[in-house]
Each structure stands twice: as structure tokens, then as C-alpha cells.
Symmetry: C2
Subunit: 196 residues, 2 copies
DNA sequence: GTCTATAGTCCGATAGAC
DNA sequence: GTCTATCGGACTATAGAC
């Protein structure tokens, strides 16, 4: 992964700082100066490791994406059934105002105009979506969930509800706005359960 | 509303241009230079009418908000029942990649840090949310919808699904991603109907 | 690999004449 | 109300020594 042995870890600190700043301030809102301040790496070192801001951001997204997929798999494994796993994913404690690391970036033109940034965002969100889709399909196969809905469509909607919850929470600067959406999402999800 | 009679309509053209640019590029992505180019108004005129960028954006949001509330009321009046109105609102044809005029702005730190920008965004989204809540409550009262869910929570979720649909559509640069979320949303909504 | 100095560009705003 | 000229600052990146 690391192309050469870095002695001091400057490279790692740069990536870590960028990951956090992308989350907090988006891509356009993250300046090289802020990255240097947070990572305590000098101008020269930074541009030595990453020739451009895009290079650094792309690497940060790669790391975040890998980490997210790993941790979500572990989180979902705790659930007793596929349907419960979807509910568990929706209920996962999150800072509503901070938002999703990836969804956060989709409103930034600079990200959408550069494939090196847009692609990892799109692919990670697609991965989430397909993860939900697979769970819903499993639930349908086991009889836990009704067979008469599109797992593909509903899977996408589950992810969208989360993204939208962050939008509303940010607009209101309120965690309660986030939680309200989740409550409604769980209610809607119940309607997919097989009728006893 | 216009404090003095403008002879040439520069002021109106500035607001119109800003409305459109805010929609397309967000707040930070909208530069005074772009506004001048689109409205064909000079530097001097622009700063005569609006001392700062925030003043101009705040006025643009005020106009957009008023217009949105008016047009949605008219659109929803066409539906035969409250439940159908919610479905109709979700199904309304939209450019998924362009996004919501208001939700679009919530990911921009500059908007969240200035109350003159954040408040109209928050208030308009709240208005949407409460509009859905009221429809759901009506549906419950009339027996069209089940009585055993929180109209407040589900109303918020309906708006969130739309916001999230835009996020996914932008990530994928795909209208199909938008439509997929709407399909799932409509499916979930059916679960609220009273069981025959 | 890291440093300091500097470049070139755009941003949002101001000055002051007409 | 509108014009042109200009400003201070921030942003992203480059140059070149150590």
C-alpha cells in the first residue's frame, strides 16, 4: 500500500487529517493549510507525498471506504435476522449533524466533476445500498419479510432515508431532527414484515 | 417588497440569477462574478442593491421559499385523498441530479454558520415536513391510513427520502438512482394503508 | 523528506467618478 | 443606479535549498 517506507509517518498523518476534515467540512471546504495544521506536516512534505489536493483526497476516500465496509459488516453480524439487521443499521447511533462521510461530498461540484473523487463516493454508497438489498432479499427468502416488494428499490430507499436524515439534521442543527426521521423509517420498515 | 422603484429591473435579475445559481452550485459555489454574468448587471449596481453576498442570497432564498410553498400547495390539491397526495408529492417529476433548492445548501458550512441563510433553509424544509405530517394525520382521521403510527415521524421520513434520493442520484450522476429510491418510498408508503 | 519563500489565481468587497 | 479600477486576503501549487 505504502509505496516506500515513510520514516516519520507524515504520509499517514496527512491521510488521517484529510479523512477527518473531509468529513467535517467537505472537499471544497478542506484546505491544504488546514490539513497541514491538523497533521503537523510542512508544505514541502505534503506536496512531496501528494502532488495535488485531489491525490490526497482520493487516498483518504480509499481508506475511509475500506474502513466503513469492514466496520459495517461487523456491526450487522450482531443482528438475529436479516430484517433486524436493516433496522439495526438504521438505528445505529450517529451524529446527525456531522453526516455521512460520503453522502456529504455529493453536493460539492468539485467532487462530481472529478472522477477520482466521485467514483469512490458513488461506489461506496452503492456498496451500502446493495448490502441493504441483499439483507432484504434474504429476509424475503426466509419468510421474515413479504415477498411482494423490490428489494433493490427498498434497499436504495433505506440508504436514502439515512442521507436525508442528515440533511434535515443539518438544516435544523438538531439531532432530534435526525432521530425523528429514523423513527419514521423504522415504522415504514415494519410494513415489510410478513403478516401473521 | 421592493423598497424603491427599480427602473431597469436589475434587482429582480440579480435575485433571479442568484436563485438559479444557488440551485445549481450551492452557496459557496456561487460567485458574485457568476451572478453578474448571468444577470448582466455591473459590479457597481450589484453592490448598490445588495451590500454583501449574504444579503443577495438571503433575498433569493426568501423568494424561492415563497414560490415553493405556493406551487406545492397547488400541486397537492390535485390528489383525491391525503394518502394519495403524499404519494403524488413523492412521484412529482424532478431532476434527481439537480437536487432540492434547500436541501442542497445544508452541506455547505458557510450556510450553516450564517443564520440569515440557515434559517430560511431550515424553515422551508420544516414547512415541507409539516405539510406531509398534516396530510398523514388527515389520512389517519379519515380511516384511509392506519391510526397506529406517528404522522410527525413519518412526515419527516418522507422528506428525508426525497433529500436522500437526490444525494444518491448525484453520487451516481444518474436519474435512475433517484427513481429507484422513489419506487422504494412508494412501496414503504403502501404499508401505511389501512388493512382491508 | 523536509524546509522557506513565492507565484498566480480567484474571491468578496470598496472607492469614487458619472 | 451604474460604471471602472483596485484592494486585501485566501487558495492551490511551485521553486529550489538543505
Amino acid at each position: 500500500m505504502a509505496q516506500e517506507r515513510a520514516r516519520t509517518g507524515s504520509r499517514e498523518r496527512l491521510v488521517e487529517a484529510t479523512r477527518e476534515l473531509l468529513w467535517q467540512h467537505g472537499y471544497s471546504g478542506t484546505t491544504p493549510a488546514a490539513i497541514r495544521a491538523r497533521s503537523d506536516v510542512g508544505q514541502g512534505s505534503m506536496y512531496h507525498h501528494f502532488p495535488t489536493k485531489v491525490d490526497l483526497a482520493a487516498e483518504a476516500l480509499r481508506v475511509s471506504s475500506a474502513e466503513a465496509e469492514r466496520s459495517i459488516d461487523a456491526y450487522l453480524d450482531e443482528a438475529p435476522s436479516p430484517g433486524a439487521a436493516v433496522a439495526r443499521y438504521l438505528s445505529k447511533p450517529r451524529d446527525g449533524e456531522k453526516g455521512c462521510r460520503f453522502g456529504r461530498l455529493t453536493l460539492d461540484d468539485a467532487v462530481l466533476e472529478d472522477e477520482r473523487l466521485r467514483r469512490p463516493v458513488s461506489e461506496t454508497l452503492t456498496w451500502y445500498r446493495q448490502r441493504m438489498e441483499a439483507l432484504l432479499r434474504e429476509g424475503q427468502a426466509s419468510g421474515e419479510l413479504r415477498p411482494d416488494f423490490s428489494a433493490e428499490a427498498v434497499g436504495a430507499t433505506v440508504i436514502a432515508m439515512l442521507q436525508g436524515a442528515h440533511v434535515l439534521a443539518r438544516a435544523d442543527r438538531s439531532q432530534a431532527s435526525y432521530e425523528r426521521v429514523i423513527e419514521g423509517a423504522l415504522t415504514l420498515l415494519e410494513g415489510l414484515e410478513s403478516r401473521r
